[in-house]
């Protein structure tokens, strides 16, 4: 419920504005709008207060000045609504971020079920390639990266998969391999600024990267998930957490595939 003090301030400020409109009186409108937001006043309440205040100003004005009062009041009202516009845009942004998070969670759940599926081991000889491809694709989408590679070097194998955003230009495989060499044992996040300071990348156009090792049950690094060029901004700690989670699930799934192969009757 809006305070009576606010109502009075609004009526007085609008009256001042309709008598002599300038930037100072408009600023008063903006400040009142800000105060309304802070006092949890709704836009509907503010509209009602404005119309009461306008009626008061019109009563005091002569017939000839009425049109000027209405025009001036419209500008004042717009100023007082600008704080609501800021808040409204914030809500819209938060709603779309929440929708994106829900999509990510659903995607992660689907991938988790796939990697945990017992039939994966028995299904086909190319299961490891399929796993790496899916993980690269999902990791790229979940983190907003442009390029992703996933590789697995264990049990005498060297398997790799790549995923590239459809709108992005192809990149040389050697470039991605060089990038893979930057991060090996620990999760590594390189911002654009870090990239330019990295001696091994001096001749590669600046971008950003996130790399996470795939680790076997005994702790040995057996592969790498690499994400390059985040479309908006830099890779975040949340991106890193998602990539680490994916890498852990992937390593476990691939080890299970190998375990199955080594024990399955030929």
């Amino acid at each position: 419920m809006i305070s009576s003090g606010f109502r009075r301030s609004y009526v007085e400020a609008l009256d001042r504005h309709t008598r002599r409109a300038d930037e100072a009186t408009l600023r008063d409108g903006y400040e009142l709008g800000r105060r309304a937001v802070a006092e949890r006043c709704s836009a509907l309440e503010l509209a009602a207060i404005h119309h009461d205040a306008l009626a008061a100003s019109l009563t005091a004005a002569s017939d000839t000045a009425a049109a000027d009062v209405v025009v001036a009041a419209a500008s004042f009202f717009q100023e007082s609504l600008s704080a609501f516009e800021m808040v409204h845009r914030g809500f819209r942004e938060a709603a779309s971020a929440a929708a994106a998070e829900r999509r990510s969670a659903a995607m992660l759940r689907r991938l988790s079920s796939f990697l945990a599926d017992a039939s994966l081991s028995a299904r086909q000889t190319e299961a490891d390639v399929e796993v790496l491809h899916l993980v690269a694709e999902h990791a790229r989408e979940l983190t907003g990266a442009t390029y992703a590679t996933a590789n697995w070097r264990a049990y005498g194998k060297d398997v790799r998969a790549r995923s590239i955003d459809v709108s992005a230009p192809e990149t040389e495989p050697e470039v991605l391999e060089r990038l893979e060499a930057v991060g090996k044992l620990l999760p590594t996040r390189l911002s654009r600024v870090d990239w330019t300071a990295e001696p091994a990348l001096r001749d590669v156009p600046p971008s950003n990267l996130l790399s996470v090792p795939l680790t076997a049950l005994d702790g040995e690094p057996v592969g790498l998930l690499l994400l390059v060029e985040k479309g908006t901004g830099e890779f975040t700690v949340v991106d890193e957490a998602v990539a680490v989670h994916l890498a852990e699930m992937t390593a476990a799934a691939l080890e299970r595939v190998e375990l199955y192969r080594s024990t399955a009757p030929s």
């Binding site: 600023r27 903006y30 845009r89």
Partner: protein, 161 residues
């Protein structure tokens, strides 16, 4: 076209010339009254930020003209302590006003482009831009005016001596 406008910000009162210059420049560039209000509001938010957190700074605004759009660029600079956590400062809910998304996040949402650079102990620079797409009619009028102007130039009728 208008030159750069520079306004020193040391108190809430300095918000007034910043707002009125921004509004006038926005209208001169063809922005709607609503957009001019949003620009004035965004400027008020960053001016308030300077006054509350640093005490002193400067706001510069200038027009930019491209082939198919007009823009108003606002640069706010201060030599304060800098912002330790930029992403937190730009998130809704951070800082003042109980997480309503006013302040810097609010200003960011009202403009089309918003960039912030801050260095500990050396200050903060915010650059924000609002764009207005120019419609076909406007572009056509401008092309005609250019052609008319050229027709009036000496030698434009091919009779160079």
């Amino acid at each position: 076209m208008t030159d750069d406008i520079r306004i020193l910000i040391t108190s809430d009162e300095d918000m007034l010339p910043a707002r009125s210059h921004a509004r006038a420049l926005a209208l001169e560039l063809g922005f709607t009254r609503t957009d001019a209000t949003l620009i004035a509001t965004a400027i008020s938010e960053i001016a308030r930020n300077i006054v509350v957190h640093v005490g002193k700074g400067e706001i510069t605004m200038k027009p930019v003209q491209e082939e198919d759009r007009n823009g108003l660029v606002v640069v706010a600079q201060d030599a304060g302590p800098g912002i330790a956590d930029l992403s937190a400062a730009l998130e809704q809910g951070f800082a003042s006003r109980g997480g309503l998304g006013l302040g810097l996040p609010g200003a960011r949402r009202l403009m089309d482009e918003f960039e912030i650079q801050s260095e500990r102990g050396r200050g903060t620079t915010i650059t924000m831009t609002k764009w207005r797409l120019r419609d076909e009619l406007e572009l056509l009028r401008e092309r005609r005016a250019r052609l008319d102007g050229r027709a009036g130039e000496p030698g434009s009728d091919g009779s160079a001596s």
